[in-house]
């Protein structure tokens, strides 16, 4: 077999391969570390952090939907300081890059978190302005091009690491939002976060989630995610991390062709703890089968009809 090169570069950070975990589906890596070799991931993106610790929403926090799931975890996390002190040392034992995912109620909170993390060992900061599961802030920032632009600009001032902005799919024009983030100084974009959804139990006549609505993820949303990655890739010049329903190497190829430089695996982890490894192997197999020597050869290479 020929050697293949899986290395990619996201905003100055070199990853061994383009497979990263999607925030919130992989904890801080500890649990999955018992199932897979964390060194084999391109990067690990951890559970969404907030400035202060958060308990998250009331359970039930998950509901099954056709080919997908709804979640309403509501950013349960021990806070960014705890993360820096207790989780980064664990993650640093691995060669995978570390991505911190941050959410705030105010621009100031985002800025403080960016500052705290700037002096830490994380490699990238992912700014989540698209979480549908918290009442304040979050998604409100991410659905308006003007606020996306200004929050990116502000946070950038406080951020010494590469800043990636995570976009919400619950918008009319994803291109406009993506351009606003790029224009605000984002070094990379990640998309998509979850689509807002609801499941009602027809026997109890209540929504299954205690929070009534939640974020839809999994295979069901893949065509929407691929479309958005493609649209965004056509208007920005910064790298994109694509996600939404990736279960196999073939799914990952679809996102890379659409214009993503890396791919995040989310819901699939919940179903198969070795999902990230399967995606990576599937990706490699596709490359061998098609005699592709460098992963960069397929990024953005969809041919439009």
């Amino acid at each position: 077999m020929t050697e293949i090169n899986m290395k990619i570069n996201i905003a100055g950070v070199e990853w061994n391969n383009p497979v990263v975990t999607a925030s919130g589906t992989f904890g801080f890596g500890r649990e999955y570390g018992e199932y897979i070799d964390l060194n084999k991931l391109g990067a690990i993106c951890v559970k969404g952090l907030t400035l202060a610790p958060r308990q998250g929403n009331q359970p039930p926090r998950i509901a099954e939907t056709p080919a997908g799931i709804l979640n309403s975890v509501g950013l349960q996390n021990p806070g960014v300081k705890y993360f820096v002190e207790h989780e980064i040392p664990f993650l640093k034992k691995y060669t995978s890059k570390i991505i911190a995912n941050i959410s705030g109620n105010t621009v100031e909170e985002y800025c403080s978190m960016a500052e705290l993390l700037s002096d830490s060992d994380v490699d990238l900061i992912e700014m989540n302005i698209s979480c549908p599961n918290i009442k304040e802030g979050g998604v409100a920032f991410g659905t308006n091009a003007r606020t996306v632009n200004s929050i990116t600009r502000e946070v950038k001032k406080h951020c010494k690491k590469a800043l990636m902005v995570k976009l919400s799919p619950n918008v009319t024009d994803i291109k406009e939002i993506a351009k606003a983030a790029e224009d605000g100084g984002a070094d990379a974009l990640s998309l998509i976060n979850t689509l807002l959804g609801m499941v009602i139990d027809i026997n109890t006549r209540r929504p299954i989630l205690a929070n009534n609505v939640g974020g839809l993820s999994g295979p069901a949303i893949k065509p929407v995610a691929v479309r958005m990655v493609w649209q965004v890739a056509s208007v920005v010049n910064i790298p994109i991390i694509g996600m939404g329903g990736i279960m196999t190497g073939e799914d990952a190829v679809e996102f890379l062709l659409a214009g993503a430089s890396a791919v995040a695996v989310g819901t699939a982890n919940l179903i198969d703890p070795t999902a990230c490894m399967k995606v990576l192997e599937g990706l490699e197999n596709y490359m061998y089968r098609n005699n592709i020597k460098d992963i960069k050869e397929i990024i953005g290479k969809v041919e439009i009809n």
Binding site: E34, Y35, P60
Partner: protein, 262 residues
Amino acid sequence: MYKQNYLSKISYKKEIVPGIFDMRVVCKEIAQQAKPGQFLNIKCCEGLTAILRRPISICDIDTKNQEIRFIFQVKGNGTKLLALKKVGDNIDILGPLGNGYYINDQYTNPLLVGGGIGVFPLLMLIKSISSQNSTVYLGFKNKEMVVLEKDFHKVCSNLQIATDDGSYGHKGYVTQLMEKKLQKDPVDIVYACGPEPMLRLVNNTCKKYNIPCQISLEQRMGCGIGACLVCACKIKTTQDWEYKHVCKDGPVFWGNEVIFDD
């Protein structure tokens, strides 16, 4: 070595009462490690139809034949598909997961209380308890739904059954049997599994009689291993409370740690 999910072959399957299936699969690794009160996270079908795994308690282990036994009730999409599987088919199982019951030889008078589908994990538990003084109370809706009576009988002479409608055994809730016992007999620990209303009652009763109890909680799950944080349950802290996770911190908790919301 890394943990993994296992494709395990079904060696036995029987509908023991309408809608409840007794299933056994061969899986060396799980059979070797499983402890009472732990659970499996089972993929009920290939493909997209029921995409999440389903948490099901380990009911019993046959270490010699490396068999795991679990019993499940058909409720929705996933369990419906699982019930369609046949002997010889493989199922994808992740496990054993969670923390089981705290077993200690110092407990000489344990009481096990199970209700409905909560009786299943108690079978492996009673088998793992060395005390000859154990008592088991099992509650069911009615006579038709009584399961595992023989299995429990074989390993425990102090077994009583209650049915809601009195069509078999004691008429009423299993917690009534329990309260009666606590009033007169020495009991040094209560192990419980069952629907939330029952667990609340068990918990309150144990509190009243000042007896430690261990209860197994249920919550909708994703990963089953503590990473996705969906299976939250309220657990007391010194100051207040925090959300812990049924799959990793449980499913078995000390009764006095748990806060049941109204």
